[in-house]
């Protein structure tokens, strides 16, 4: 059993970063995720592991610092919240285009614009459908507990390096700020320079001899070659889609009606299931853990026998589009959302399930 601590979600991410052997964190303060940078500075990671922590002049600088360090094969991460993530989109597109591994964290707040500092899930499109320019994908992990905030730091880096692709932890202000018990994993050593050359020297700019050098770039002006590169990227994304879908299925085995929700919304839906089952309603929850790749197949399986889906999101209906893409028009799919930092109550969610889904499909 690892060390147990009571921590905020943001703190758990920071502690997990140090323990995962991360080489560098570059970030910029923004509510509600500033505890990540604060915790890292407080912990003196330069003494604990030699990890670099630097407060940049902007999110634009942060993400480009990540590009540089990731291009040197180092375990590198940054974190921000919605407006800051918008600023990072240019750099994220370059990182995806240069095929660099790194971990990004978005502790989502309400928008659009400056919006609010309260929790939201309205960045789903930005995270899973692009955000920046060009055809690229991020591996998107959605924690719904402080425990997963810690665990997904490790998982995110594993996936990022496995595919040389940026991974994103898409959390929200509620999970970032709430305190829960977390079991921390043991300290992992950082790679030595020799290990680094051996593992990533084939592509990373660690310094090489002339005529045998490494180039990190996303530029290819020749159209035919740029198209070939895009084919290669798409093949990688296909492999990720086939191998890395993660989800949790809660009480779906006998369920007639399914909530589809992630993060904070998934926690609320779990309570709604309890309330509904006490009334004799057979409710279940499909919780996507990877928002991309999306758990399309398990939803299609469920669609063969259940009577309806309710996608619950703290947004105007973003993830629900992926539910509809998965199950089509054969079955009732509705969305329920609150915005602007409002969090729905379990009772309110159950009520919508009863009124909008169950009544119409009995």
């Amino acid at each position: 059993m690892g060390e147990l601590r009571l921590m905020k979600g943001n703190e758990a991410i920071a502690e997990a970063a140090i323990r995962a052997g991360v080489d560098a964190y570059y970030g910029y303060p923004i509510t509600p995720q500033s505890e990540i940078l604060e915790y890292l500075m407080q912990e003196r990671p330069e003494e604990r592991t030699g990890m670099v922590v630097l407060q940049a002049e902007s999110e634009i600088a942060s993400i480009n610092m990540v590009y540089g360090a990731a291009g040197a094969g180092k375990m590198t991460m940054t974190s921000s919240s919605s407006p800051g993530m918008s600023l990072m989109q240019e750099g994220i597109s370059y990182i995806a285009g240069a095929e660099l591994p790194c971990l990004l964290v978005n502790v989502v707040r309400g928008g659009p614009g400056l919006g609010t500092i309260q929790p939201s899930q309205a960045d789903y499109f930005q995270s899973t459908k692009g955000g920046g320019h060009g055809d690229y994908r991020l591996i998107v992990l959605a924690p719904s507990s402080v425990q997963e905030m810690s665990d997904f730091v490790k998982l995110g880096f594993e996936l990022a390096f496995k595919y040389r692709n940026p991974a994103l932890i898409q959390s929200d202000g509620a999970i970032g700020q709430m305190m829960e018990k977390v079991e921390l994993f043991d300290q992992q050593p950082r790679l030595t320079m020799d290990q680094l050359y051996e593992k990533y020297g084939s592509w990373a700019t660690l310094g090489h001899k002339r005529n045998d050098r490494r180039i990190i770039t996303s530029l290819e002006l020749e159209s035919a070659r740029q198209e070939q590169f895009n084919f290669k990227l798409q093949a990688k994304y296909k492999a990720i889609s086939e191998n890395e879908v993660r989800y949790e299925s809660i009480m779906c085995d006998d369920a007639d009606y399914i909530f589809v929700a992630y993060g904070t919304s998934a926690r609320i839906c779990q309570k709604s299931i309890q309330l509904g089952r006490a009334k004799g309603l057979k409710l279940g929850l499909l919780r996507p853990i990877t928002l991309w790749p999306y758990p399309t197949a398990p939803l299609q399986e469920l669609a063969k026998r259940v009577k309806g889906f309710l996608a619950v999101e703290m947004s105007a209906g973003q993830m629900v589009e992926d539910v509809r893409l998965a199950v089509g028009n054969q079955i009732k799919v509705e969305h329920y959302g609150r915005f602007g930092g409002m969090i729905p109550s379990p009772e309110e969610v159950l009520h919508v399930m009863e009124e909008n889904i169950i009544k119409g499909t009995k």
Partner: protein, 258 residues
């Protein structure tokens, strides 16, 4: 004595460094980028640090610098090279990291990254090519375009009342405590080439000694953008650019004071 008797290995006094690749440079005839590339590579070769150096290429005419500089390179988004260099240098503190940027990249879209890297005193070297114009995109007005100077987006000359003033980034960063060496040079005459190379050498030596950020501006020509012959553009540069952007070492924290 026949020419054939002179052209022998033992008489060789100058040849292209092997730290430039065999690819023909993509720059226009007479463009100063080529000499600037060569000088940086010669310094790296002479210091014996090619296996410990990572260069950061910008966006602009020199976006393809990594095709010509025969060392590990990263290509950065427009203006972001100092941030990318910071990212690399912080995780490889004993390596040499330099950026190579034009005026649009460094002094307009990347002003924040430039100033803050300088102000943090990152142990990197910035090579700044200032030709007063956006060359790659077709000769538009740059932050460094001189008052009254014509460009495709200031076709009647830069009107400072509406278009703002040219920005002297080099003087600006010299004021910051994080910079250790700041100089402005040119590469259009043999004497200037020699001075520039000496400065670039010093910039890398200061980086080696972890003294802070070293910054070398090279005032250069853009004969295509200025619509002149290479020879005429160098003369125009002397007559118009140098009075506004005077050459010389602006800051050297190790300079002996008398």
């Amino acid at each position: 004595m026949n020419i054939e008797d002179i052209i022998k290995p033992e008489n060789l006094v100058f040849k292209k460094t092997g730290l430039l690749t065999e690819k023909p440079l993509s720059y226009c005839p007479g463009c100063g980028h080529g000499v600037a590339h060569r000088l940086v590579m010669e310094v790296i070769e002479e210091m014996g640090i090619e296996e410990k150096t990572i260069g950061i290429a910008p966006v602009g005419c020199s976006v393809l610098a990594y095709e010509f500089m025969n060392i590990d390179m990263q290509q950065a988004a427009h203006g972001r090279a100092p941030a990318v260099a910071t990212g690399v240098k912080r995780v490889l503190p004993d390596h040499f990291v330099f950026t190579y940027q034009g005026d649009g990249d460094l002094a307009a879209i990347g002003t924040a990254e430039t100033i803050h890297a300088c102000n943090r005193g990152e142990n990197i070297t910035i090579i700044f090519i200032n030709n007063g114009i956006y060359g790659m995109t077709g000769g538009q007005m740059a932050p460094t375009t001189l008052p009254g100077m014509r460009s495709s987006t200031s076709p009647y000359g830069r009107d400072v009342a509406s278009m703002g003033h040219p920005l002297k980034m080099t003087e600006l960063v010299a004021h910051l405590p994080g910079t250790c060496y700041v100089a402005r040079h040119a590469v259009h005459t043999p004497a200037n080439v020699t001075k520039t190379k000496k400065s670039i050498r010093k910039a890398f030596e200061y980086q080696r000694d972890k003294k802070g950020l070293s910054f070398v501006e090279i005032v250069s020509n853009c004969n295509s953008g200025w619509k002149m012959t290479p020879v005429d553009s160098n003369q125009w540069m002397e007559e118009n650019m140098f009075p506004f952007y005077p050459l010389g070492v602006i800051k050297d924290i190790d300079a002996k004071t008398k």
